[in-house]
């Protein structure tokens, strides 16, 4: 049967309003006369506050409140937006006497105007005892200086954390006899790769509005991906019951995982709870860059064992991950560096080992960023496989074809899950075709020092956090026969409001415009873990499907009653409920009206879904670059990608996801750097220094889809949001190596590194 709405490239429901600049975002839809909230930030990477004097600050005209560590609840929590109990250890207070990175909170100031608040911030006098910071992640484990020496630090889930060792998580998993297989290989080699604490750099910085509602509850309007987790985090931070907190999200100006951590919310929430006044906090770009929640910096050591014919038999990966000053997402991101890279080679692997340490240091705390560890791990493993191809003098595509995961295989490195839907092989074949691999793989001299070369990489991700996160949907028939769809997932521009509506329209057989979609508000949306882990289409989409099935059953019951027959005798026919024998029907409009009169059967259904598996989407990326051997400049000319996201529910939105992810990945590969000075201060603290790609920096993109059908997903869908960022770094690194003979194992690959690398070689 042909789908009508699923696989249709329809416009996003909010597209025209957004493009015409209508008020939609936090700062547009909340009162501007709220208190301005700002945070005084630590100039030291590690220090104890000896004295803090706020008297002068409080005297500034227009200042309403100044809070320090002495004023906040003394119960530790985490800002990570994860299902409770969170794997991230509870190591935060709203404000702490110990400051742990340059940018850590020292005091909260609330005032009537921004100018007053700025003045007050300057008038807070702090006397610090400056402590030795732990700035190098390599020496952090068992360092004599502890980032979290406090006794009330708690790790709720056993992730191997130990604050007395600066350790946030540690684990080793393996399958097969790694030593024996390695010993039996023709060739083994080890390489170390390093990725930086890249920034999500969503265009709308962190921002939150808070007020007391007519019931005296805390009403939070925030740019967030996780309304329900946020409600819990704020309740925990303020030490109040969740019934006292309501969180809603307006349109979100991009998230990419940044807004899966409660970066801004607790500050204005605390101010409103204490003062009763509405409050608003808007992060500056500089704050976003230095007090946000970037990608975990990781160093990955990969050992590969292979045969001369290209058979990859064993991968041994160790990841050292830097969570920074706080634990957010530290124990969980690291797992993906192995579990979403190694399984790509399931076809040939006889053994694998994956071990990791996640350490605290005195730099900005990391968080969740699209790809969530997989991006880092895939850079390492895919680069190592590309290096192997060079050693074996094999075409890297042919090498992959020998070893890749194929449909039906069980993946020991992916929790023993079976690849039910996997078009990775077809992605590879198709990518070769559209890219013109045979012509572009040889390095071509263009004259004047310029050469053209190519690179390839594969990627996978998950589609949810299996057996943990849940999605829900509430579907309702309105009086006039139109529908509402209520969700707790967060459309952050990705289009999930539209995509979930498409799924519902397909299920109910209605028009897309007959569905009013709403999300997300903890008071009115059904519980949903939130939009992260690539899960919304796959998990919440399935909840929509389930809810529609139940709603149709309920409407059949009402219709049967109206037709005076049994429910078994009728069927739902989109615009009516009719007798299966065709002898009679009642229109949907009449059923709809009946639901509101003398009716005991609900025309509103909520369904919840949690998946026991997390089917990976797959992708192949191929890049052609032009490299200037005399200046080191790398120009991306052409990027071709083929994606297997199962059934693309909305091909246009899926394509844009892929294109946007590729460009973010290009930024990570070539220009987005994060460096610290000797005091632990970040150099790239604004868009003047932190260079995300402009439209002149990304070449031409082309994305295609190789559909597979995932039996556990809605209409065969898997995920797409994250997998798309993973291929550029290894593909570009390979193209650079082809052009220069030098493998760059630390990102970003800047012109200076390229040129100086060639000089050294």
């Amino acid at each position: 049967m042909e789908n009508k709405h699923v696989s249709a490239a329809v416009r996003k429901k909010d597209a025209m309003q957004l493009l015409l600049g209508k008020p939609a975002f936090m700062e547009d839809v909340t009162p501007a006369d709220a208190l301005v909230v700002k945070v005084l930030r630590s100039p030291h990477a590690h220090a104890l506050i000896e004295e803090i004097n706020t008297d002068l600050a409080k005297k500034v005209e227009g200042i309403v409140a100044v809070y320090t560590y002495k004023d906040v609840p003394q119960r530790r929590f985490t800002l990570a937006g994860q299902t409770s109990p969170e794997p991230s250890p509870w190591d935060r207070l709203i404000l702490d006497r110990r400051v742990r990175y340059v940018g850590d909170g020292v005091a909260i100031v609330a005032g009537e105007t921004e100018k007053a608040v700025n003045t007050a911030l300057r008038r807070i006098k702090v006397k610090y005892t400056v402590l030795e910071p732990v700035l190098d992640m390599h020496t952090a484990l068992d360092h004599p200086v502890l980032v979290h020496p406090e006794e009330d630090w708690v790790s709720v889930i056993p992730v191997g954390a130990d604050n007395k060792r600066n350790l946030v998580a540690q684990e080793t998993t393996s399958d097969g006899d790694v030593e024996a297989v390695m010993a039996d290989c023709d060739l083994t080699f080890t390489r170390t790769y390093h990725t930086k604490a890249c920034q999500q750099a969503m265009m709308e910085t962190f921002r939150t509005y808070t007020e007391l509602d007519p019931y005296g509850r805390l009403h939070v309007v925030s740019s967030t991906q996780i309304v329900f987790h946020l409600r819990r985090i704020i309740a925990n931070a303020l030490d109040i019951p969740q019934s006292k907190v309501r969180v809603e999200k307006p349109r979100i100006g991009g998230g990419f995982g940044a807004k899966q951590t409660s970066v801004a919310e607790v500050y204005p929430a605390f101010v409103t709870w204490k003062t009763g006044r509405a409050a608003r906090m808007v992060f500056s770009r500089a704050e976003c860059q230095t007090s946000g929640c970037p990608r975990h910096e990781m160093e990955m050591t990969v050992k590969i064992g292979a045969m001369k014919d290209g058979h990859i038999r064993c991968i041994d990966l160790h990841t050292l991950s830097n969570t920074g000053a706080y634990s957010e997402h530290g124990p969980t991101t690291v797992g993906l560096s192995g579990h979403k890279s190694i399984p790509l080679y399931t076809g040939g692997l006889e053994a694998f080992r994956f071990s990791y340490d996640v350490v605290y240091t005195n730099v900005q705390a990391a968080g969740a960023y699209r790809g969530y560890g997989a991006t880092q791990g895939i850079f390492a493993v895919e680069s190592a496989v590309n290096e192997l191809a060079e050693m074996l003098e094999m075409d890297p595509v042919a090498l992959r074809e020998k070893n890749i995961l194929r449909e039906g295989m069980v993946m020991p490195a992916y929790y023993g899950e079976k690849a039910n839907a996997c078009a990775l092989d077809r992605c590879l074949t198709r990518a070769k075709e559209i890219f013109g691999w045979e012509e572009k793989w040889p390095v071509r001299d263009m004259g004047n020092g310029k050469v053209r070369s190519a690179g390839v990489a594969m990627a996978m991700q998950g589609s949810c956090i299996s057996n943990v996160d849940i999605g829900s949907a509430t579907v309702r028939l309105q009086e006039d026969g139109t529908y509402t769809l209520s969700i707790g997932a967060a459309d952050m521009g990705t289009g999930c409001d539209t995509i979930l509506s498409q799924i519902m329209a397909e299920c109910m057989g209605c028009k897309l415009e007959d569905i009013a979609v709403f999300g997300a508000d903890t008071d009115s949306s059904p519980y949903d873990s939130g939009s992260y882990a690539s899960s919304t289409t796959y998990v919440t989409g399935k909840a929509v499907e389930k809810a529609c099935t139940q709603l149709k059953a309920n409407l059949c019951a009402i219709g049967a009653q109206m037709l005076g027959c049994t429910v078994e005798e009728v069927e739902f026919a989109s615009t009516s409920v009719r007798k299966k024998d065709g002898s009679a029907e009642v229109s949907l409009a009449d059923v709809a009206n009946k639901t509101t009169i003398g009716n005991n059967t609900s025309a509103q259904v909520t369904a919840t879904h949690c998946s026991p598996v997390s089917p990976p989407p797959y992708m192949v990326g191929m890049v052609e670059i032009e490299l200037d051997k005399e200046t080191g400049s790398v120009e991306v000319l052409d990027y071709k990608a083929v994606v297997d996201c199962g059934t693309p529910i909305n091909p246009h939105l899926a394509r844009i996801q892929a294109e946007g992810g590729i460009v973010q990945g290009i930024g990570m590969a070539l220009s987005e750097n994060v460096t610290y000075d000797e005091k632990g201060r970040i150099t790239e603290n604004n868009f003047f220094q932190y260079k995300i790609p402009t439209r002149l920096d990304m070449g031409k993109l082309q994305v295609e889809f190789e559909a597979s059908y995932e039996p556990t997903g809605p209409f065969g869908a898997k995920s797409i949001g994250e997998v798309v960022i993973n291929t550029p770094s290894p593909a570009i690194a390979q193209a650079v190596a082809r052009a220069t003979g030098v493998w760059h194992r630390t990102l970003p690959i800047t012109p200076e590194k390229v040129l100086m690398g060639m000089e050294e070689a």
Partner: protein, 152 residues
């Protein structure tokens, strides 16, 4: 200080501080399409037209706009509606936060150069950052619009 200027065709007289930025000035007068994405003149989200020319309102004093014509997307709805549907058809609006600045600068581009090449489009819009779309869909949308005009 007091200034007089024209905002979206309407005469406005206002008391401002010497350092009030044009961005904050227009937002305070209901032009909420104008966004702030950085503090370093790198993102283009705050683009408005000053006497018809696209400028960054985050780096322009409201005082300097005195005596001039300022236009925001609120005042150019029809001109925008002419082509933004083509962006929507690509799904390239995405989160929408950078859209008003992008749309304003595209308006400026198309006024200056009604039939731009792809490279001219990229060059003119280089100062408009977008982190969601990867830019290619925006380009496809503009191209589709230009093609439709030629056919129409």
């Amino acid at each position: 200080m007091e200034i007089k200027l024209t905002l979206n065709g309407k005469a406005v007289t206002a008391h401002i501080e010497a350092d009030t930025l044009l961005l904050d000035f227009v937002r305070a007068r209901g032009c909420l399409s104008v966004k702030r994405g950085c503090e370093t003149e790198n993102c283009g989200l705050c683009t408005v037209l000053l006497d018809g020319k696209p400028i960054l309102s985050c780096a322009t004093l409201a005082a300097r706009a005195a005596g001039h014509h300022v236009q925001t997307l609120e005042g150019l709805q029809e001109e925008a509606a002419d082509f933004v549907g083509f962006i929507a058809d690509q799904g390239a609006e995405q989160c929408g936060f950078c859209n008003p600045g992008f749309v304003m600068n595209t308006i400026a581009l198309l006024r200056e150069n009604p039939d731009p090449t792809d490279d001219e489009i990229r060059a003119y819009l280089a100062g408009n950052l977008c982190r969601c779309s990867g830019y290619e869909g925006q380009l496809r949308g503009i191209r589709a619009y230009l093609d439709s005009k030629k056919e129409g």
